[in-house]
């Protein structure tokens, strides 16, 4: 199914899926809030690789649409990182910890 010598769409799709899966593992397994945020950025990267692969290899009347999409994903990711870190700093100031299993005030 995958010929190793010439690059196809499948190579990039698999790379994107692997990056997303590693980010998913980090977001679920780590307990430090900053690491979880970085893992989410990694998942955004996997999605962008997939989108740009589609944008290059798939026949379309709007060939750059995938790249425009990726630009907006990066924009939203930057906004998310800024707000997420502000929340982490506010939580740290209040509770002196950012270990996610110690932040359980609203958990039942």
């Amino acid at each position: 199914m995958v010929d190793p010598t010439t690059l196809t769409l499948n190579h990039f799709l698999l790379l994107g899926a692997v990056l997303f899966a590693v980010g998913l593992y980090g977001a679920l397994a780590r307990r430090n809030a900053v690491i979880v945020l970085m893992s989410i950025e990694l998942m955004f990267n996997g999605v962008n690789v997939t989108l740009l692969g589609f944008s290059r290899y798939i026949a379309s009347s709007a060939p750059l649409l995938g790249q425009i999409f990726a630009i907006f994903i990066i924009t939203v990711a930057a906004a998310e990182a800024a707000v997420g870190l502000a929340i982490i700093i506010a939580v740290y100031r209040d509770r002196k910890t950012i270990q996610l299993d110690d932040i359980h005030l609203m958990k039942w």
Partner: protein
């Protein structure tokens, strides 16, 4: 010949991207995680170049490897005494997370590789920056403006959330 170099480049930079990602997830110190993540972002930027997305590659280096990593380092350094990710054993959580990630990867690989995509016959080799700039200020000007309002709201909101009272 060019194709061979492109393929070698894909495997080298793909390995950098995935290796950086795995190192980020596995590193015990937060700053090590951040440095691994920079390597991963730069590898992904090179992959974008292989996909003929020159503008996106530049954006990736500037925004991700630059701005977002600076934010993350600020986050790490403004929350001291959190440098180790806790000494407690949480094997169950790791096993569960690995199961979720592996099953996601299996389903994604199965469905992505099993689909017949309508592939383009000829691949464009044109630079994209000029065309993206034209599109962002013509056909996609409304999402562009919405994105700028979103960034403004995120900036004001994060300053307000993180301020000292």
């Amino acid at each position: 010949m060019t194709e061979l170099f492109t393929t070698i480049g894909f495997y080298v930079f793909g390995l950098v991207a995935v290796g950086g990602a795995v190192g980020m997830v596995a590193a015990r110190r937060l700053v090590h995680s951040a440095i691994f993540l920079v390597a991963s972002f730069l590898g992904v930027a090179a992959i974008y170049l292989l996909l003929r997305a020159d503008f996106l590659a530049a954006v990736q280096v500037l925004i991700y490897a630059g701005a977002i990593m600076i934010l993350m380092l600020f986050g790490i350094m403004l929350t001291p005494n959190q440098m180790e990710d806790g000494g407690r054993a949480h094997l169950g959580q790791k096993v569960g997370a690995a199961l979720v990630a592996i099953s996601f990867l299996a389903v994604a690989a199965f469905s992505l590789l099993g689909t017949k995509w309508p592939l383009a016959q000829t691949l464009s080799e044109q630079p994209t920056t000029e065309e993206i700039g034209r599109l962002l200020l013509s056909g996609y000007v409304l999402p562009f403006e919405v994105a700028s309002v979103l960034l403004l709201a995120a900036m004001v909101g994060s300053i307000w959330i993180a301020r000292e009272d």
